[in-house]
Symmetry: C2
Subunit: 414 residues, 2 copies
């Protein structure tokens, strides 16, 4: 007997038939004596349909009302799954985020979870019920419904699993694990059996959209093992865990491949603020203004012109935020007497990720070499201890991933 936490994504819950199949599977697990908590996303395209409806009603939807509206999607799937379970003779109850005790910050649309009051959840489990919880949401101190950012159901699942001290959090999705890169781009991409939180975090942030980055962050804080797996095929997926846990599983302490995965993010845009006086405080001014508008900046590159006193500042943002970012950049650019503000959405970001990189020098040099051989021009570079990212022309993105996957021998990883 164990306490099991499952999370099902929207595609997995896309039709009444799929919901009934999940209910059957859960019933089987319940009958083996397990305690079950299930976190659900909204069915299929429900969220998109609600957003569509919203855009027809309002040009600039209010954040509080957005949360009120969007949260209904998960409530529908949670109640349907609970019904399907009860219909099979399996005692169950659905709980909204608020009913499940998920308390968030007082920020609409992208709050963080503050804590989870487990009283009701534990009582329902004690009463022998499968507890189905709406993912992606909680309540704030006023009792208002708060969502925690798109894809946040993963985070809800990990947070609930951590609060309940479950052994593992099973996240069921429409892919069967994490691959060395997108298999639609590279046909011999391999499934990775164990990956560390940090690597997964980078891959997730970089466009491998199988898991919400915050869920991985949360899992790493609580050392919660995530098993990312297929909702249709009953096979092992990818375990996301600490390097220590991986070493224990794999049975070797060293010789990790330098590069573990390659990610392509086509959803970015580049902004450049050109020729500004290079004096202390210019970066703070620009990025402070962007932060004040809640624009998430990803890569930042500052280059100093040979003249010495003038600098270019370039950064990337999500494509949807480009217009707002340019407005801010132009305003600040004017104050800083910038010569021009340029923007380009015809770009993408290719990234190599791997904990081993830090101990194997030359990975970056090899990446640049491989790209240059294919005449792919690098516009921006950013590095961290476990990743190297290059911004290149959008149309060259897929090609870059393919040649890098081959150059680093990722098709041979087992």
């Amino acid at each position: 007997m164990a306490l099991i936490v499952h999370k099902y994504g929207g595609t997995s819950l896309g039709t009444p038939e799929k919901i009934k199949n999940i209910a059957k599977k859960l019933k089987g697990l319940k009958e083996k004596g397990n305690q079950l908590v299930v976190i659900v996303s909204a069915m299929g395209h429900t969220t998109d349909e609600l957003i569509d409806l919203m855009n027809k009603v309002s040009a600039n939807p209010d954040n509080r009302e957005y949360d009120m509206l969007i949260s209904t999607g998960e409530q529908v799937s949670a109640s349907l799954l609970a019904m399907a379970l009860i219909d099979l003779g399996c005692s169950a109850v659905s709980l909204t985020g608020g009913q499940a005790g998920v308390v968030t910050e007082d920020i609409y649309k992208k709050a963080r979870i503050k804590h989870i009051h487990l009283d009701r959840l534990k009582n329902e489990l004690k009463a022998g019920k499968v507890v189905v919880i709406t993912g992606f949401q909680g309540i704030d101190s006023k009792g208002d419904i708060i969502t925690i950012g798109r894809g946040g159901s993963d985070t809800s699942a990990v947070a609930v699993a951590a609060a309940l001290q479950a052994d593992v959090c099973d996240i069921y999705t429409d892919v069967d694990g994490v691959y060395t890169t997108d298999p639609r781009i590279v046909s011999d991409a391999r499934k990775i059996k164990y990956i560390s939180y940090e690597e997964m975090l980078e891959l997730a942030s970089l466009g491998a959209q199988v898991l919400h980055p915050r869920s991985i962050e949360c899992a790493s804080i609580y050392n919660m093992v995530i098993h990312l797996r297929s909702s249709t095929k009953d096979i092992t997926g990818t375990y996301i865990m600490s390097p220590q846990q991986i070493a224990k599983e794999v049975g070797k302490m060293e010789k990790q491949e330098a590069v573990r995965g390659i990610a392509l993010d086509e959803n970015i845009a580049k902004v450049g603020v050109l020729k500004i006086a290079d004096k202390p405080g210019i970066a703070a001014k620009l990025f402070g203004a962007l932060a004040a508008e809640k624009i998430n900046v990803d890569m930042i590159v500052q280059s100093v012109h040979s003249a010495g006193s003038l600098a270019d500042m370039a950064f990337t943002v999500e494509r949807t935020e480009l217009r707002k970012a340019v407005q801010v950049a132009e305003k600040v650019g004017k104050e800083l007497k910038s010569e021009a503000v340029i923007s380009d959405s015809d770009v993408c970001k290719v990234s190599l990720v791997g904990i081993g990189m830090v101990s194997q020098p030359g990975t970056a040099a090899k990446m640049f070499e491989v790209l240059s051989q294919e005449k792919i021009n690098i516009q921006m570079i950013a590095t961290s201890e476990i990743k190297i990212s290059c911004v290149i022309k959008k149309e060259q993105g897929k090609k870059a991933v393919q040649i890098l996957h081959k150059a680093f021998g990722l098709e041979k990883v087992s």
Copy 2:
């Protein structure tokens, strides 16, 4: 400046365009300095779609989960209307039943409202906001979402209006008032300007489905004037109020027409438990068993056979409950040694309603006479002080309404 309570039904909120139009109208009222509370139903066919989805997932949906599921419909329309208002620069906030302080009994699917905690509602009004409340729902003592029965948004609106001591509760719908009978059946049916709670209650219970009966009951308790009116045409509808208020408005204390309206209910079925021993307690036994199964029984007729010791018991129920009702009747019938249980869903109920009836004898006799002239056979009769109902063959229902409307001169009512 006044405190205005509006309620909009699902058809009135059926499309984003309609929602935006309502928002415009509300903004105009707000700018005149009024305080506004708006109760909304689910958009168009949302509830039916959710029920459809539910039936695909579960053969026998759990009541708690039903409420959890169905309540999302109102949450969607409330947040959309609030967004549309904010978009027009009109400060607004949507509240779920629970957030609005609507506390119900601990009964799923058909709870009654116990009380309304006005704190948040009043605070939002004080902050200058239009408050949009999800109709049809509240929370129970456990914090679970509870719906108050289909069509319950009318009741929500009246309860909120009463709690806030508003002067009038405007219920906007897709008809422009209450008519002497269904205009689709009788082309010269007239709109009634003032109607008493009791008359309206009878008409609503009898199939004139413009207003939820419980909302009228609630309005009568608190003497809340309901103005039932069109959401598309800006014309006066029907005022539902006490006879005292009507007398004041109309300026005459007597000479009310005996019959004010005629209703046709085609959604009934008849059950007969034949030849049971006529001794004390048989009715209690039968109808106690039906009540235990939560089957609403409408008309009841007990007839004693000439033999003296045997009785027939006939009653009507909503058509959807016929199967369950027959099961109960057969079980009890067996215990009571009934000769047979019969059922018939090929029936309808025609009713005359009017407060004046009680003081004008002969109305019933005239009704029976008119029907017999057209060779319409009466199967069951039930009378109260302000109504007379006859169960007849279903196919004769519309014809019966037409000839009665003419016979009682209702086309001449102004």
